[in-house]
Amino acid sequence: TAGITQAPTSQILAAGRSMTLRCTQDMRHNAMYWYRQDLGLGLRLIHYSNTAGTTGKGEVPDGYSVSRANTDDFPLTLASAVPSQTSVYFCASSPLGTESDTQYFGPGTRLTVL
């Protein structure tokens, strides 16, 4: 079982360009999440989705958008990238989306915005 896959593994992007980070899970989990990881700050939630067709804002949503057209996919889009969005991005999923769930993480995407 693949679990959670993310693409690309890494990317260098010019400021002002748009980009979509892809995330796919094969565990049929209801909930999915996007986090960014910055040095010394742990991971911070960008957006989440409790179930297909619904999304919600996390702690740091500005500059990002998401969609959840089906259970398996949860793409993250940067409409116009800025250097402060340089980070490592992790997608995660959990079975039910409740506070008792364990979240499982993908391998991450390293994004550099120049």
Binding site: A31, Y33, Y35, G40, L41, G42, L43, R44, L45, Y48, N50, G56, G58, E59, V88, F90, A92, G97, T98, E99, S100, D101, T102, Q103, Y104, F105, P107, G108, R110
Partner: protein
Amino acid sequence: AQTVTQSQPEMSVQEAETVTLSCTYDTSENNYYLFWYKQPPSRQMILVIRQEAYKQQNATENRFSVNFQKAAKSFSLKISDSQLGDTAMYFCAFHSKAAGNKLTFGGGTRVLVKP
């Protein structure tokens, strides 16, 4: 708002020895969940152990155990018989219904296991 603090940026331990990582958190909730995640150089976030706040018994997973002190809001991780493969960043995380779907992470502790 919930906060999670890991006060040790880096720790080193000799192979086969024991190391304890500290984590404190701040919350007004009574029911919540605590996690330790490991992030090796591969960057993958791996769940090490979880603890339900309503359980008094400390969680244990093989060489990993926690000391959960609810009144003190402390959740330390002990790694026994340290192995070279334990070298990684370790993150403490908090999750509650009041926090919504957000896992709140500490800043991490880098553990280096020396041969």
